[in-house]
Amino acid sequence: MPKTLYDKLWQSHIVEQQDDGNCLIYIDRQIIHEVTSPQAFEGLRVAGRPLADKHAMLAVPDHNVPTGADRATAVNAEDSQIQLDTLASNCQEFDVEYIPMLDARQGIVHIVGPEQGFTQPGMTIVCGDSHTSTHGAFGALAFGIGTSEVEHVMATQTLVLSRLKNMRVDVDGDLGIGVTAKDIALAIIGKIGTAGGTGHVIEFTGSAIRGLSMEGRMTLCNMSIEAGARCGLVAPDQVTFDYVMGRPKSPKGAAFEQAVAYWKTLPTDEGAVYDKEIFLNAEDIAPQITWGTSPEHVLPITGIVPSPDDEPDADRKIAMQRALDYMGLIPGTKLQDVTIDRVFIGSCTNGRIEDIRAVAEVVKGKKVSSNISAWAVPGSGLVKLQAEDEGLDQILIEAGFEWREPGCSMCLAMNADKLGPRERCASTSNRNFEGRQGPKGRTHLMSPAMAAAAALTGHLTDIREL
């Protein structure tokens, strides 16, 4: 029977098919960070259990790290520092490879894994973080787990899982100018909603997806979780192999050839059946902007702030009104007339080199609007170095951006980087939930190019008109 990519990944990791229908699934790799691992290590200690395979793990701090230039000496909040210190000491105690904050390779887990070649096609990859879906861009079965499952993987190298359903999202055709992987992701969420992919793995197919770089595919798979799907997938191809080749933890020489031969067997077979299929036309996708407090509150930049009066469903009407009140928006306002206070370029969604390049291209030789505070936070130390090599940092700094050290930063405001109450931010991150970027802060999600455009004009802006 023809199989999907997901079917193959699933079946090749079954250790045991249980009588109750669940499977014991082998986990090839686990990445850990400081927020969701301390209780798991503590659990192992209390039960006196060793790690199943320390080589299958990689640790890096990201959520709590300061991102100012003075990070080496900056005094961190006490509770943040405790989490960072706990990660370091746990990794030492259990002999797990740990990338410290001041190492050039440090960065956001979902940027570091691929960069180091830790992420490879055909693997199962987990992390105590929902955006682990990012790694699915390589044709790996990658998903976020809770801390109890982190501990389960640490102790057994497996998880008890039930099989997900197959969903295909096909995006065919050519993307318009100024339209990026982020816009595809937001457009899909707008179409199927934040629960549209619940219980499913989403495989992204179609010529527009094949045409994306690895960075773009990672952006797309990153946001599968915002569509409710625990994993996103893109079939591995030459673009994938080229990206993986030569990275520190990638197989080398003959082993690489052997791996590629295997990876080439992974793509979905002709005639395989999906449980659900969604089709989008790439030409129809305009640059997207969120207006509310859920990623599904999304519209093309040419749209207007919607009115709850037009919403027939009573519960949705209430949710919409609540979102508008929180965001301080009046129905009927043109999205492009909404003025902003802050710009945030970064996160595991859009903190990669291509994203920094896209921003530099827009702001080169121009100035950030005078009332705007604009930040660029590279997703890793290596992204930062690469950007500096290319002179992108200078372009950004000259335009008026603050060029910061790598970390999650203002994506979730667990560190010192936060929006003030009612501050409005053009953000390249992935969640616009209430308070996500700081208490009462207001987030509009968009692509790096769109955020850069907003930085220049001071309001939400259609990149195609700039």
């Binding site: 045991e16 109750d20 973080d129 499952e149 057994t156 008890v160 519960d315 405001a413 939930f433 209430e434």
Partner: protein
């Protein structure tokens, strides 16, 4: 892990869709290295005013619901971040069962690991339970995991489905790591095969 067999308790209505885990426990309370103590911070943004005083209009602040152990809520409950701090916070507050039309996948799984029973039911049944839950101190319902039944305040019974493996773990309070470790040999066999077919995955 605590067992969950049968629970007779007050059910609180929280008729909102898409309650995300940021809302259940916000990021400024994730900086803990323990599993306990998060109950006071559960739903903080909708439960407290800026000055820390309680909002009277929030259901769990109302006298009749302060001891609620069951939540009846809207679709896609627990979406967003994978943080297990969300079920830890609910548990620490005293919530042992959440009933909703649908749950986000990661949160759903996290509940079972912490002795919380999440129950999925069709919207029309949820509407009835939401009515039941709206009766203040009389909103007492019984959830029986053994029989897979919910009994409302008026004696009406609804049955529910749950994954048999997870049900078994909850009923017996089983540590699933311990259970999996009993399969060490199976895992070793799988690994040995994989070392031959995909040697590049292994370091030593």
């Amino acid at each position: 892990m605590d067992k969950f067999i049968r629970l007779r308790a007050i059910a609180a209505p929280l008729p909102m869709a898409n309650i995300d885990t940021d809302m259940i426990i916000s990021q400024n309370h994730l900086k803990t290295i323990k599993r306990t103590g998060l109950g006071v911070h559960a739903f903080a943004n909708i439960r407290y005013h800026d000055d820390g005083s309680e909002r009277e209009d929030f259901v769990l602040n109302k006298p009749a619901y302060r001891k609620a152990e069951i939540l009846v809520t809207g679709e896609n409950f627990g979406c967003g971040s994978s943080r297990e701090h969300a079920p830890w916070a609910l548990k620490d507050f005293g919530i042992k069962c959440v009933i909703a039309p649908s749950f986000a996948d990661i949160f759903y799984g996290n509940c079972f690991k912490n002795g919380i029973l999440p129950i999925k039911l069709p919207q029309d049944v949820i509407d009835l339970l939401m009515d039941d839950a709206s009766r203040g101190a009389n909103a007492i319902i019984t959830v029986d995991l053994e029989l897979q039944e919910i009994t409302g305040p008026d004696g009406g019974i609804v049955s529910f489905e749950v994954d048999p493996y997870r049900r078994q773990c909850l009923l017996n309070g089983l540590d699933d790591i311990g259970l999996t470790l009993q399969k060490k040999d199976l895992i070793a066999t799988y690994e040995a095969k994989k070392r031959l077919s995909q040697p590049w995955l292994f370091k030593d």
